[in-house]
């Protein structure tokens, strides 16, 4: 018979067990919230806000991880820090979903508390330790979130940062430009923000070029914000077809992000009617959708490249949109008056040997996303690259009344250097970043690669990555250089002579077609013997990011990699730059936790190497 009487002999285990179990369950019941805790325990939060033109407060909020900063300083003997700033957007797709926890054996995976889409999280600048040898190398030590706007679609900053510069960061969807003070990194401050109501002559900001006086030019790829005529500061009246349409403009910002001037990219008479489509149609067709932008102040010349009318509308679900919405043009401007860039030339890039009239989208000239200028006083040239065209063009003199652009390299001839199983077809290489080295010896280039099936059902696609071209002979040859990519053979294997040659290449996501980087930046800082950083004209590292614009269909795996760069141009992925959570090479922006919270995946579009003022001479 079971006893119903009091215990005669006390058994300690029972009390301990019952007490322990009750404690565990009680604690769980009280504290369980259905989600796991943030991986960042102690985060210092500080906010810097400014009142914008609309009278509202805009802010940047730092979320500093003090333990990483402290540990890094202690373990490196106080070594000064170099930072990689990455401008990234919240993904907001099931971003709080944690599959592993949701599917325990007895749980009903699909039906129990299935996570719904949360509110969009904030976009942010990630501050990543890029100091070689640092114990926190690759760690995100601060996420500087912006507010109150969400879903900005962070896009480009300037191409390179110099001491004292404001950081200009564009918001593609919000049509805004943020100006950040990075002098006291890893913390940031907000200097100002330009809203769409301050840039009525253009929309959809893309890229920035900072001038020696600290002000900056920005390309606004889309048209004036409302359709109809718009009068620019120089008096020119341009008829546009509306927000995110055509034609775009060049905006001049002061150091606080305030608009100094708006300047037309369009010609008064319009552009080539056949090559430049607009939707809705304009009386004067234009290709003026400036994307890439670089300047040579010593030559009083600014160069922009036209990419595409940046909005999309499926008028016919089965009919392809016009390939002529993607542009083949490069523009130069006279910037003798820095505040009023004056459009000087419009050049149409010529098609190359791969061009097929039946497939104009993949002709070499199509979608001139980027341009980069040479840097040394003896050089006057610039390069341009095409995203769908997959080609690199060069003109030896951007000051000319009619710059002559010729194809000097086809991405196809770099394909096998990147990944030996690639074919040698450069069409639709989805190239993005292109940048001359400060010493004008090399040309750095990032290509996403061709997605499987792009050129037909049997197209295996190509692996993307980074390649480096030696351009010394080409630049040395001067304006009368000989050669161009004028045969399919040259497109596949290089043009020979003085034309650029591949000296370094590295795959990103080798074997996965179309998963390479869209953007990149070179590291223009080297540590001196005195422990301070100085600018160098021989970068030793590159940083690249695998993301374009998710809405466009070109998304990527959201990783940021560093690459080591040799003096001979050889390049290799830095195996030490690893994700602090996965341990894998490359910083994965698809993660659950950030210093600012469990906001999930983020989309890293662009990056810059930056050093705090106190650490830089």
């Amino acid at each position: 018979m079971l006893s119903n009487s009091p215990l005669r002999r006390k058994i300690p285990w029972r009390k301990a067990l019952i007490g322990g179990l009750a404690s565990v369950l009680a604690a769980g019941a009280v504290t369980y919230t259905g989600s796991t805790t943030n991986a960042y325990a102690d985060v210092q939060v500080s906010m810097d806000a400014k009142t914008a033109a609309d009278g509202k407060q805009y802010w940047v909020q730092n979320h500093l991880v003090p333990k990483d900063v402290a540990q890094s300083k202690a373990d490196t003997g106080g070594k000064r820090k170099k930072w990689l700033l990455v401008w990234a957007g919240d993904e907001n797709i099931a971003d709080t979903l944690v599959k592993d926890v949701k599917n325990l054996p007895g749980s009903l995976g699909g039906g129990l508390g299935k996570i719904r889409n949360a509110l969009p999280g904030p976009d942010f600048l990630a501050v990543i330790d890029a100091t070689e040898g640092s114990p926190t190398y690759g760690k995100v030590v601060n996420t500087a979130t912006v507010g109150p706007l969400v879903e900005n679609e962070p896009h480009h900053m300037q191409y390179v940062w110099h001491k004292g510069d404001t950081i200009y960061a564009g918001a593609l969807f919000a049509a805004a430009t943020y100006a950040f003070d990075v002098s006291a990194l890893p913390q940031l401050k907000l200097k100002g923000v330009s809203l769409p109501t301050q840039t009525l002559g253009g929309s959809v900001p893309d890229a920035y070029w900072t001038l020696k006086d600290g002000t900056s030019y920005g390309t606004y790829m889309g048209g004036p914000v409302v359709p109809g005529p718009y009068r620019y500061d120089n008096g020119q009246v341009v008829v546009g077809n509306g927000f995110a349409g055509s034609p775009g403009e060049v905006v001049h910002f002061d150091k606080e992000g305030k608009v100094l001037s708006q300047n037309p990219a369009a010609t008064p008479q319009g552009d080539n009617q056949k090559l430049c489509d607009n939707l809705p149609q304009l009386g004067a067709p234009t290709c003026a959708n400036p994307h890439g932008i670089q300047a040579r102040e010593d030559l009083n010349t600014l160069v922009t490249s036209d990419y595409a009318e940046p909005r999309n509308i499926i008028l016919d679900p089965v009919k392809q949109p016009s390939p002529y919405l993607r542009r083949p043009t490069v523009r130069t401007y006279d910037i003798s008056d820095r505040n009023h860039p004056k459009l000087k030339t419009v050049s149409y890039l010529p098609d190359g040997p791969r061009a097929d009239p039946k497939d104009p989208l993949h002709s070499e000239s199509r979608a001139v996303m980027e341009t980069t200028v040479t840097n040394l006083p003896g050089h006057k040239g610039a390069f341009a690259q095409t995203m769908q065209g997959g080609a690199v063009y060069y003109t030896p003199d951007i000051t000319a009344r009619e710059p002559h652009w010729r194809e000097v390299f086809d991405d196809g001839s770099a394909n096998k250097a990147i990944y030996e199983k690639n074919d040698a077809n450069g069409a639709s290489s989805n190239g993005g970043w292109i940048q001359t080295s400060p010493d004008d010896k090399y040309l750095y280039r990032a290509i996403v690669g061709r997605q499987k099936g792009t050129l037909g059902p049997d197209d295996p696609g190509t692996t993307g990555g980074v390649y480096v071209l030696d351009i010394q002979k080409l630049l040395a040859a001067g304006p009368g250089y000989q050669g161009s990519i004028d045969t399919k053979e040259k497109a596949r294997h290089g043009g020979g002579g003085v034309l650029p040659t591949v000296v370094g290449a590295a795959p990103i996501n080798a074997g996965v077609p179309g998963a390479g980087p869209h953007w990149g930046a070179y590291d223009n800082f080297a540590l001196g013997a005195d422990g301070f950083y100085r600018e160098t004209d021989q970068p030793q590292h590159l940083a690249v990011s695998n993301y374009f614009v998710a809405r466009s269909g070109l998304d990527g795996d959201h990783k940021v990699n560093l690459l080591n760069l040799g003096k001979d141009g050889k390049v290799a992925v830095d195996q030490n730059f690893r994700d602090e959570f996965t341990g894998q090479v490359g910083i994965n922006f698809n993660r659950k936790s950030w210093p600012h919270g469990d906001f999930g995946n983020a989309k890293p579009h662009s990056e810059l190497f930056v050093v705090a003022d106190a650490d830089l001479k």
Partner: protein, 593 residues
């Protein structure tokens, strides 16, 4: 995006047999057997030190249940994608308890861990008080079942003396289970109405509570052998435990329909959970709306002729017109030959005439906004029944904006509704004051101003887009009244401009957009819905009028069938956007009169 892709993006991966999407019958059966078996094994292990030698029969039973639990835990990795570590730990604990059963002291530790695991598995997805209630019920039932098993499988002389008084413990456990069941019932929100006995969910809740009460009453009867108390109550506890474990798989019944209040319900049809909106829920003509993700659906009043739900210009999803009889009736939704019922109650009073007409979708979208914020108000009027002072003021300011831009002519498009007629009058008068002629025609130098409802607004924008593709037309742009900021309308054109009093990018507007998407199959927000969602709070959101531009910005016009790289979200399911794949930004300062 094809329909399959859309469906994959939804939380509507419906499964067979449970009546609830996302949970299949196999998973439910696996859950019930696994949790019950594990609870018995854990209960025996936890209380093992109370007894000396364990009989062979109990050892075999525990070993069998532990084996079944272990196997099912491993099977769950393959069948329901269970976390491998979690499944292995569950299996290992069950086997360890069975293996350590001969050692009274050792079995309790894995048993304690297994109790915690069973609680977590039962409560996964819930939090706060829900989790606490789950914890109390599962732990209480586990102890009851453990003592029952021991009383059946251990000779009376093998029970050790203990401070644990099993009789009072049974009353305590029963009381806790009653408390948990009662709390669950109170938390369920279904209230003391016919849903309690008219729905599986209500019956399950009722069963849990009643069975716990039965066990408590049984426990209250004094017995010399408290083991009998546990055995008598075991069946009630076991059934209650199974009912509790099954609750997560039983669809919760919707709110009872209230005549004249549009009904928002969810039905499981053809393996898919489909949200349904019935407006105005009055006798006579009503609109029945399902989201686009529902696919092809037909609707009928039970016993009547089925009507296929079809697209309506300017609105998302599908709409069916049905005639409801007075009072309560059932609507039958059919998809892929699979029917599902929705109970409606039209009452006897007449509804707003415009609720089921051409402006019915906007009216329904307005009601949906309120319903999604638990605002169940009688639908007495629709947005198209009158032009609000705020909207009239916004239209006047829009005309002023066009005058400042020196638009040579306005092509005004309005409809015959009270709102449309009043809006047209406002625009004409304002244009006259500003000396802008109002004349029809797709002039290359004109501006289109649309103040109609969604239906005509959609057709007008579609025609404008076609015209603008062929030749320059409406050079001064396409302008729409505030109520036309709706994805299917503004996404027809490359860009459009709208006078608004709120910024769709700000937190409340984004919260509402996310709520609509989540609550109604990914549907896009509407201005009327936002107002109803906010209720009186609308006044705090409604500010000065600014012109906003809307466009689908994506930086690269893609071919419809262009292949996309890995990692791309085919659905582009970015909830929280007012315009799908679009951008809406202010492009003017606040406008003056």
């Amino acid at each position: 995006m094809d329909q399959m892709d859309q469906m994959d993006q939804m939380d509507h991966g419906a499964q067979l047999g449970t009546g609830s999407a996302g949970i299949d019958a196999v998973a439910l059966l696996l859950r019930l057997v696994l949790l019950f078996g594990s609870a018995v094994v854990a209960g025996v292990g936890l209380l093992r030190p109370l007894v000396g030698a364990v009989g062979r029969r109990l050892t075999v039973v525990v070993a069998a249940l532990a084996g079944i639990s272990a196997v099912l835990a491993i099977v769950s990795i393959l069948t329901v994608g269970a976390n491998v570590v979690g499944a292995v730990v569950h299996a290992a604990l069950a086997v360890a308890i069975a293996g350590l059963l001969p050692k009274p002291g050792a079995a309790r530790w894995p048993a304690a861990a297994l109790v915690v695991l069973v609680v977590i598995e039962t409560a996964l997805g819930s939090s706060g008080i829900d989790f606490a209630v789950d914890t109390v019920f599962v732990a209480g039932a586990t102890v009851w079942l453990g003592i029952t098993a021991l009383s059946l499988g251990v000779a009376p002389q093998e029970w050790r003396g203990s401070s644990l008084r099993l009789g009072p413990l049974a009353i305590t456990l029963g009381g806790l289970l009653v408390l948990a069941g009662g709390t669950q019932l109170a938390l369920s929100g279904i209230g003391f109405d016919r849903r309690l006995y008219g729905s599986a969910f209500g019956v399950a809740l009722l069963a849990i509570l009643v069975l716990a009460l039965v066990a408590t009453v049984v426990a209250a009867v004094p017995r010399a052998d408290p083991g009998r108390t546990y055995r008598f109550g075991a069946a009630a506890i076991a059934i209650g435990f199974l009912a509790w474990s099954a609750l997560a798989a039983i669809p919760k019944p919707p709110e009872l329909p209230v005549p004249g209040v549009p009904l928002l319900a969810s039905v499981s049809v053809a393996d898919q959970d489909v949200p349904v909106l019935v407006s105005p829920q009055r006798p006579g003509r009503n609109l029945v709306h399902v989201p686009a993700t529902a696919g092809e659906v037909s609707v009928a009043v039970e016993g009547g002729q089925a009507v296929r739900a079809t697209a309506r210009p300017g609105a998302e999803g599908s709409w069916a017109e049905v005639d409801l009889p007075d009072g309560r009736s059932d609507l039958v939704l059919t998809k892929d030959d699979s029917p599902a019922k929705v109970e409606v109650d039209a009452g006897t009073a007449e509804g707003a005439a415009s609720a089921a007409g051409s402006d019915g979708p906007e009216c329904a979208a307005a009601a949906l906004g309120g319903l999604l914020n638990n605002r169940r108000t009688l639908l007495t009027a629709c947005p198209s029944d009158a032009l609000s002072d705020d909207d009239a003021d916004a239209l006047r300011k829009l005309v002023g904006f066009l005058a400042e831009r020196r638009a040579p002519v306005i092509d005004l498009v309005a409809d015959e509704t009270a709102r449309g007629a009043a809006a047209a009058k406002v625009v004409r008068e304002a244009a006259a004051r500003k000396n802008i002629p109002v004349a029809p025609g797709q002039s290359p130098d004109g501006a289109l101003v649309v103040v109609s409802g969604w239906d005509l607004g959609y057709r007008t924008m579609r025609d404008a887009a076609t015209a603008q593709r062929e030749k320059p037309a409406y050079g001064y742009g396409l302008y729409a009244a505030p109520w036309l900021l709706h994805g299917p309308i503004v996404n027809l054109v490359a860009s459009s401009s709208i006078p608004l009093r709120f910024d769709p990018r700000e937190q409340l507007a984004v919260s509402y957009a996310v709520t609509v998407g989540n609550g109604f199959g990914g549907e896009s927000p509407s201005v009327a819905g936002f107002r109803n969602w906010l209720g009186d709070q609308w006044r705090s959101v409604s500010g000065e009028v600014q012109i906003f531009a809307s466009a689908q910005v994506n930086a690269m016009p893609m071919y419809p069938n262009e292949p996309h790289p890995p990692g791309m979200v085919m659905a582009r399911d970015y909830r929280g956007q007012w315009v799908p794949e679009g951008t809406v930004v202010p492009v003017s300062v606040p406008l003056k009169s």
